[in-house]
């Protein structure tokens, strides 16, 4: 079983190295994703954001504009991810809904109610 895992790891590394050969040089602003027009003629997203962020939302910080306005639905989903994590920790770790401090505060009577 260990050998299979080692093989998996090596295959994963080889796949990534093979994939990185196809990537454009990091940092040249002529790469496909930075261009104004994508290869198929539709407007390139990131260059549109840079040129129009201030015009559309009067906000110099382009990342905040994308975060809240252009791709605002992503951030709403992200908020829900945090809320889910909070609810899960509440669900898994709180013993039947009452925290031990509340049990101590309600004193003996509270403890009877539990049992």
């Amino acid at each position: 079983m260990k050998a299979v895992n080692h093989l998996l790891l090596i295959f994963f590394g080889a796949l990534l190295i093979y994939a990185s050969l196809g990537l454009p040089n990091r940092g040249d602003s002529e790469a496909v994703m930075h261009r104004e027009k994508s290869p198929a003629g539709s407007p390139g997203a990131s260059s549109y954001y840079i040129r129009n962020a201030y015009k559309d939302a009067q906000t110099p910080n382009m990342v905040t504009v994308i975060l809240a306005d252009y791709r605002g639905y992503d951030t709403l989903g992200e908020e829900t991810v945090i809320l889910t994590a909070g609810l899960i920790c509440y669900l898994i770790l709180r013993r039947n809904g009452t925290s031990s401090r509340r049990r101590e505060e309600t004193g003996e009577e509270g403890a009877d109610a539990q049992i």
Binding site: S29, R35, S46, I50
Partner: protein, 124 residues
């Protein structure tokens, strides 16, 4: 060849980080160490996106009137940075839930090493 290496050595470093993270998740016996491997894996992917967003001689994507009109070559691509805010938050949420589960496991089984855990699961 030189500028190919200059343009890609960061990606190879990130691939090494990814393999380390995956190694940690698969081969480590302790549950908490698996979590560390998982976090390394997620951070490596965040690095991958942010590394790909940079441009030579371009500044932070906050509009600076001193640079004049906003052209794509002057600012680095802001989209990846926004996507990675989401990925960071997902990483935090997953780690939070994972630690809640680790505590819940420790509370019932009093151990975090996987081999001992599997025996205790079978016996109970």
């Amino acid at each position: 060849m030189i500028d190919f290496i200059l343009g890609h050595y960061v990606y190879w470093a990130i691939i090494a980080l990814l393999i380390i993270g995956l190694y940690g998740m698969i081969f480590k016996n302790n549950l908490a160490k698996k979590l560390i491997g998982m976090t390394i894996f997620q951070v490596a992917i965040i690095m991958f996106y942010v590394a790909s967003a940079s441009k030579w001689a371009a500044t932070v994507p906050v509009l600076d009137t001193a640079l004049g009109a906003a052209e794509a070559a002057k600012y680095i691509s802001p989209l990846q940075h926004c996507l990675m805010l989401t990925a960071i938050v997902v990483g935090v949420a997953t780690s939070g839930v994972a630690f809640a589960l680790v505590i819940s496991i420790f509370r019932t089984y009093k151990t975090l090493t996987e081999s001992v855990l599997l025996e205790r699961m079978k016996s109970s």
